[in-house]
């Protein structure tokens, strides 16, 4: 296979930084969104794969109110 001396890091380093930033941000956002009231008891939440329990939201709210 012929090798081509295409510069990759030199012109594209900002995109690598941006990819890292975006990956971090999106994963943080996904975690935060999964922990909202709407999705905390969703069966697709990866929390359940690790043996998480269903959170009783009504009880939580009551405790928060108290």
């Amino acid at each position: 296979m012929k090798r081509f001396p295409t510069p990759i890091v030199k012109p594209l380093w900002p995109f690598f930084i941006a990819a890292a930033v975006t990956y971090y941000g999106v994963s943080k956002f996904a975690d935060a969104y999964g922990n909202t009231d709407e999705y905390i008891n969703d069966p697709r939440n990866p929390r359940f794969a690790k043996g998480g329990k269903i959170v009783d939201l009504t009880k939580n709210k009551e405790t928060m109110e108290e």
Binding site: P7, I8, V21
Partner: protein, 259 residues
């Protein structure tokens, strides 16, 4: 761990649902990033298709490729011309491989998603919008690195009266920031809308055809209409990847040369 049973369609949006086929579970750390989901599977399929499009068509590394290779040449030629025309100057060659990679990925995943029972990678809003955000953020970093604070000159169109400058800067900045969303939203919304339209029309026709034998025979007329929609969707699949490329090249031009 292997979960291939759930292939029923309950709602039109089910086709965009990604299932986990394989996951590593450890109590010590979060291994969710290494799950093999539908998404990961299709990413690998796209990678395999793109590589095999090059590997199996180059006629055993002879000077001339096979008949299939002409398609590759045409795509490459189109990309070079488009990016050259959009960017101009001398820097287009540095970013051509990057934009070409995006084009090939989007084109192949769009066309792959047109096969029935397959998964639309480009209809995943989170993925596509993070991709476009990544592109936008990278370009912004590049612009600031290259031009420093002069980069803000991008927000002032040439020949603006001084009175209008603050307003225009505000508007231009808004539009510049919105690029990060609009680039991905355009693609994902188009692909998703196309797939939804097809599946909803298919469902309606299915219900109509399952009434009795007469409607089954009559149903072949709307089937032709769905065929036309499918053809349109194929066209959209190609056009959207091209649009992404053109926009990305023009954004790159903005960042590199400021106007």
């Amino acid at each position: 761990m292997l979960n291939l049973i759930n292939t029923f369609i309950n709602s039109p949006l089910d086709q965009f649902e990604s299932q986990t086929f394989f996951s590593i579970f450890t109590p010590f750390m979060d291994m969710n990033n290494f799950n093999i989901t539908t998404f990961a599977l299709y990413t690998f399929i796209v990678l395999f298709i793109i590589i095999s499009l090059f590997m199996f068509t180059n006629n055993n590394n002879m000077i001339m490729g096979s008949k299939w290779f002409i398609t590759q040449e045409m795509i490459y030629d189109t990309m070079v011309n488009t990016i050259k025309n959009q960017m101009g100057g001398k820097l287009w060659g540095f970013y051509m491989p990057f934009i070409y990679t995006f084009f090939m990925f989007i084109l192949v995943s769009n066309l792959l998603s047109m096969i029935p029972y397959s998964f639309a990678l480009t209809a995943q809003f989170v993925f596509i919008i993070s991709l476009s955000f990544m592109v936008w953020l990278g370009m912004t970093i590049m612009g600031f690195y290259k031009h420093g604070l002069v980069f803000f000159a991008l927000f002032v169109p040439q020949g603006t009266p001084l009175v209008l400058v603050p307003l225009l800067v505000l508007i231009e900045m808004m539009s510049y920031i919105m690029r990060s969303l609009s680039l991905g939203l355009r693609l994902a919304a188009n692909v998703m809308a196309g797939h939804l339209l097809m599946i909803i029309l298919g469902g309606l026709l299915m219900q109509f055809m399952s009434i009795n034998i007469l409607t089954t025979i009559l149903g072949f007329i709307p089937l032709l209409i769905i065929l036309c929609v499918v053809m349109l969707e194929f066209a959209i699949a190609m056009i959207q990847s091209y649009v992404w490329t053109v926009l990305m090249a023009s954004y790159m031009k903005d960042v590199q040369y400021l106007h």
